[in-house]
């Protein structure tokens, strides 16, 4: 198998090429995904290779894109729909919460909805309003939806392939500040990274550090600032369904945990993780679990954006606080 050094945009692009090649039912649709190759160039080259019936420049209508993708999925296609920016995904909630997520249950398995919605998310790129938000919480809260966020090019490819092959609707969020942040070795050809499983980015005994997406990279930076603490960094990869096992086992071992997310604090996934730790590892805890998160405010425009986003120092402070409690 050939291996190339790719950034995340290239890795996702490769996954789309390979899955479209493998399965003629896979189609890509969205605003500017064809001729333009996507505003981040994630879908570059697909139109030339697969034609305008499978790589579809749609009218500008997010609810329209996702709603028609549902009909396609029910019929037997596997649509991969792009929502250009996360701040425009709110218009898809109606179709996802009212339909995509519950078609299997409502029809008692007669119909199902194998589709992927891809969207960039998150801050750190000095963008306009609605272009810097972390919105996964909304979709995690919808029963029947799966939510996936990669933190590296390798995982992005493997997770997207799994998402496309999954029989249920998956919201696949791409951390846009990592799109071109670094390259790593990504094999050509088929491999998958399973949905529903977190992975350890580092092994450690003192503190469990839990994150995903762009913040997983911030956590890696933070580790350089706390060299005297042995940290086990878990990248959740899939936010729904949550990998209880990896969290529970780690916290039972370390007795201490910090959760880092870019989403606002209230009802962010950190709250649910703490609840599960309480249910499954409470008696192992040596310190209260701490959260480092975005604040409960709209993401500020660029001039004050950095104050909103958790950074390595904030994470390091939290690790030290929990480690020395």
């Amino acid at each position: 198998m050939r291996v190339a050094k790719l950034n995340m945009v290239q890795a996702i692009n490769l996954a789309l090429h390979e899955e479209m090649e493998r399965d003629p039912d896979v189609i890509v649709m969205g605003e500017d995904v064809g001729v333009d190759g996507g505003v981040f160039r994630v879908t570059e080259g697909l139109l030339n290779k697969f034609g305008s019936e499978r790589v579809i420049d749609t009218p500008l209508a997010e609810s329209g894109i996702v709603g028609t993708a549902i009909g396609m999925a029910v019929y037997g296609l596997k649509p991969v729909a792009e929502i250009q920016f996360e701040g425009f995904s709110y218009m898809t909630i109606d179709q996802l919460a009212a339909h995509a997520s519950r078609i299997r249950n409502r029809s008692r398995g007669t119909y199902h909805c194998p589709m992927v919605i891809r969207s960039p998310y998150g801050g750190g790129v000095r963008a306009l309003e609605h272009h810097s938000e972390a919105v996964a919480t909304f979709y995690i809260h919808i029963p029947g939806m799966k939510v996936v966020i990669p933190s590296s090019p390798y995982d992005a490819k493997g997770l997207l392939i799994s998402a496309i092959r999954d029989p249920d609707p998956v919201f696949f969020f791409e951390p846009k500040r990592l799109y071109r942040a670094f390259r790593e070795e990504v094999p050509e050809g088929e491999y998958t990274v399973p949905l529903g499983e977190g992975k350890k980015l580092t092994e450690g005994d003192d503190v469990t550090l839990i994150s995903w997406g762009a913040m997983a990279r911030v956590c890696l930076e933070a580790l350089k600032l706390v060299k005297d603490v042995s940290v086990e960094l878990i990248d959740l990869c899939t936010l729904s369904p949550l990998d209880d096992k990896i969290i529970t086992e780690s916290v039972r071992k370390t007795g201490r945990a910090v959760i880092v997310h870019e989403e606002p604090r209230t009802l962010g996934l950190g709250a649910e993780i703490i609840a599960r730790i309480n249910e499954k590892a409470f008696l192992y805890l040596e310190a209260p679990v701490k959260r480092v998160t975005g604040y409960d405010v709209p993401v500020p425009l660029p001039k004050l954006e950095d104050y909103y986003l958790p950074d390595a120092e904030r994470v390091a402070d939290a690790i030290k606080e929990v480690a020395t409690f």
């Binding site: 605003e31 500017d32 064809g34 001729v35 333009d36 190759g37 505003v39 420049d57 009218p59 500008l60 209508a61 997010e62 609810s63 329209g64 701040g87 425009f88 709110y90 218009m91 000095r126 963008a127 306009l128 309003e129 609605h130 272009h131 604090r265 209230t266 604040y295 409960d296 405010v297 709209p298 500020p300 425009l301 660029p302 001039k303 004050l304 954006e305 104050y307 909103y308 120092e313 904030r314 402070d317």
Partner: protein, 359 residues
């Protein structure tokens, strides 16, 4: 007869000033010299504002920005038809209308340099920039509806692009406006592209103006590079709206000469030859020719104007760059009264910042 035609609808095209600056005198609006000069001044200022913004963005002194190059007649011409107490709802490419509405350009630069504080002290009834396409259309309908309920002779105007006509919010807004006969003027800036998607791929309709007919009110297509046509159509629509005649959709047929935003590369989806053709229809040039024919414009006039406006822009940029928003503004405006969790989070951040600065 079992089958007969029960409805025939039509859409007008309005053009008053041609690209050579020749005016159709039967349609020419009655504008005094001072107003004509102000319209020209505002269009030129808008173009200089955009040019400066693009330069600042390239130098890393400003962030993503959508210029309105080529669309100045649409934004400025329409906004000049408004009364100060009418409500104005922009999308994000209406700097021409914002300047015409008297918003200091310093505030516009503060916004595009990345601060919500631009709205502190902004003249009222000029609503916030709406980034999510078409969402503001409903707000304008609601505001106009409120004016109607309160029996005030006030209209609202809302701006959006050709792409917005595909969104549900556009159709819901148009339908509400038709049903409740709200005093709303819909300005569709049809600049032929929604990022990469050409207008003919956006809708199978021949015009965008005709969409109004389905909702039971008038739609008109005007030459969007002709400030006089845009002004006249908007003026008439506003007067109709204020006097109880209901809404109007004005499709301003224009062209985005530049990129969608500073993040966009239009060479991916359109030919330069097309851009060159539209440059010949430049809205500012034709107004200049019109003013020259009226004996108002001359090269000296132009030189003096450019000098004056350039100085105005330099001053605004200097002030905008000097502006430093306070960190507490992230928390201060979320609710009328700050809840305890936000107070805690603000204190946490301020403590972190002071620790960092001391350290």
């Amino acid at each position: 007869m079992p089958r007969k035609k029960i409805l025939e609808l039509s859409v007008d095209w309005l053009s008053i000033l041609d690209p050579e600056g020749n005016v159709d005198e039967s349609l020419e609006p009655d504008l005094d010299k001072g107003t004509l000069e102000k319209i020209y001044r505002t269009m030129v200022l808008t173009r200089l504002f955009d040019d400066k913004a693009l330069k600042l963005q390239r130098q890393g002194r400003m962030y993503t920005f959508g210029a309105s190059l080529g669309q100045e007649a649409t934004t400025v011409g329409s906004a000049f038809a408004l009364n100060p107490d009418d409500w104005f709802f922009p999308a994000f490419r209406e700097q021409g209308a914002q300047i015409a509405r008297g918003i200091p350009i310093k505030l516009l630069y503060i916004y595009w340099m990345g601060s919500e504080d631009a709205y502190i002290g902004m003249p009222l009834r000029n609503f916030t920039i709406a980034i999510p396409v078409s969402t503001q259309i409903l707000h304008a309908v609601g505001a106009a509806w409120a004016a109607k309920i309160k029996k005030e002779k006030i209209a609202s105007i809302v701006y959006f692009g050709d792409g917005a006509t595909s969104e549900g919010d556009f159709h819901e807004g148009m339908n509400f406006a038709g049903v409740f006969k709200t005093p709303t003027v819909f300005i569709c800036q049809n600049n032929q592209y929604a990022i990469s998607l050409p207008r003919e791929r956006q809708t199978a309709s021949k015009t965008l103006a005709q969409k109004a007919l389905a909702y039971g009110f008038e739609g008109i297509q005007v030459d969007g590079n002709d400030a006089l046509a845009v002004y006249s159509a908007t003026k008439a629509a506003l007067e109709k709206a204020r006097s109880g005649g209901g809404p109007t959709l004005i499709e301003c047929f224009t062209y985005r000469l530049g990129a969608h935003t500073t993040s966009d590369d239009p060479t991916k989806y359109r030919q330069m030859v097309e851009v060159e053709e539209w440059k010949k229809k430049d809205p500012i040039k034709r107004f200049q020719l019109y003013l020259a024919k009226k004996g108002i414009w001359s090269q000296d006039y132009e030189d003096k104007l450019i000098k004056e406006l350039t100085a105005e822009i330099e001053k605004a940029v200097e002030e905008a760059e000097a502006y430093k928003p306070g960190v507490e503004n992230i928390f201060k405006y979320v609710y009328a009264e700050m809840p305890s969790n936000l107070k805690e989070q603000m204190d946490e951040l301020l403590a972190y910042i002071s620790k960092k600065t001391e350290g």
